[in-house]
Amino acid sequence: MTDQDIQQIDKYLNGELSAKDSATFELRLKQEDNLAKEFKLQREIKAHFQNELVETEHFEESNYSKELRDFYNTDEAKQFKKKIAERHHNFVGNEKQTQPKSRNYLLIAAAITVLIISTLFIFNTQDKNPTQLYVEYYTAEDLPSLVQRGDNQDNLVKGTIAFKEGDFIKAETLLKSYIETTDSPSMNAFLYLGMVKAELGNYDSAMLNFDKVLTSNSLDASKGLWFKALTLLKKADIVEAKEVLKVILKDENNFNYEKAKELLKAL
């Protein structure tokens, strides 16, 4: 593949070739396998950057595709499929029974979510379930960004990075190791560890970590309250979440005071 060929592919994809040159290029695409392959790849790269999906309809058969086919036909795969359908029915079906209007308000909630994402404004969030509110109010930006200031902080910084990358198990190990090996560990470590525990569904332990933040002398101590409230939302414990939000509202200097007000109203 010459550089000229690649440039020609680009021009064709950008619609920069004359009708005559386009026709010649299309003919070449039919005749030259390598050019056609390169063309497909370049088209796919372009689509990827444009958030589109150029579909590959046919893949060469490989050992991997054979393994996939074999798996598809096993009883185990059929069982998994059946279980997924059952779970789906249970979740979506239960929602219908217990919350008759849920379909409608899911639609509304979805529309609102899109609006919020595109405008970054917070709208009235009434009629949303706690998990939806959690998703809406939790932002990793409320967690401090840490930079390394010494070797002993290595695991702390690495732990926060692992958390942001969604590797909660690794984050947990690193943060714990930092806390255990440091004389007076940063409160941020407990904040992150709390969120790690919440993400892993270990809510009680999450609460203990936030309590440590809350009872510290740190300037950010009130962050502990905010993340406690969020964790309770995630756990769908509305009663407790409200209580914590009320505590935040006792002092205007508390972290996310305004957001807490909104959230309490939405609950």
Binding site: I45, E57, L68, I84, V92, T113, G201
Partner: protein, 189 residues
């Protein structure tokens, strides 16, 4: 085939743990539904795409493991988005009737969907391996930002310099993709 360690939530999915299904249904399905409905789909489409995504993840985890480089929620959402885009492409093709539609069996569809997703992930990973400068440059280039703006933004001395740089970045990306050992399993015909 070497098995990659599964993400803890993928493992929970394999084990059928309630906790992960609560996360999936309470926080991810609403997002998927919103996306599908905003892109010419119905509730039923979202339900189908979601179940397909879960089955796909299980199958991949069983065969060679799934490696996730982002948050689990974001990852599942991406898989669903790609499945829905693929479905929309299929529908468009049917409407245009451009090619003779082959009747594809469910098994073929399942295999193609997984390979497409893994190909998409490979592209994504390789884009992240580029230098920050290359990534930003290609992003602007494919978003059709004019050369004039690119020259100013990236401090290039001329249009030709910008053109050469874009060309080099694209070549680098192509080579990163095609030289990865996974690429041979994900090659299109």
């Amino acid at each position: 085939m070497k098995k990659i360690t599964n993400h803890p939530q993928i493992q929970q999915l394999l084990d059928g743990e309630q906790q992960v299904f609560e996360l999936l249904y309470n926080s991810i399905l609403p997002k998927v539904t919103a996306f599908v409905k905003n892109n010419r789909g119905q509730q039923e489409d979202a339900d189908e795409v979601f179940q397909k995504a879960l089955f796909q993840l299980i199958a991949r985890a069983k065969i060679k493991g799934v490696q996730i480089n982002s948050a689990f929620e974001a990852y599942v959402f991406t898989v669903c988005k790609n499945l829905w885009r693929k479905e929309l492409n299929n529908r468009k093709r049917e409407v245009r009737n451009e090619t003779i539609m082959e009747l594809k069996g469910a098994e073929d569809e399942f295999v193609t969907e997984i390979l497409s997703q893994e190909r998409w992930e490979l592209f994504q990973e390789k884009i992240l391996e580029l230098s920050e400068n290359c990534r930003a440059l290609l992003k602007d280039y494919f978003s059709k930002v004019s050369y004039k703006v690119i020259i100013e933004k990236f401090n290039y001395s001329s249009e030709n310099v910008a053109f050469q740089r874009i060309f080099k970045c694209k070549k680098k990306l192509t080579s990163l993709i095609t030289s990865d050992s996974r690429y041979k399993d994900l090659t299109s015909l």
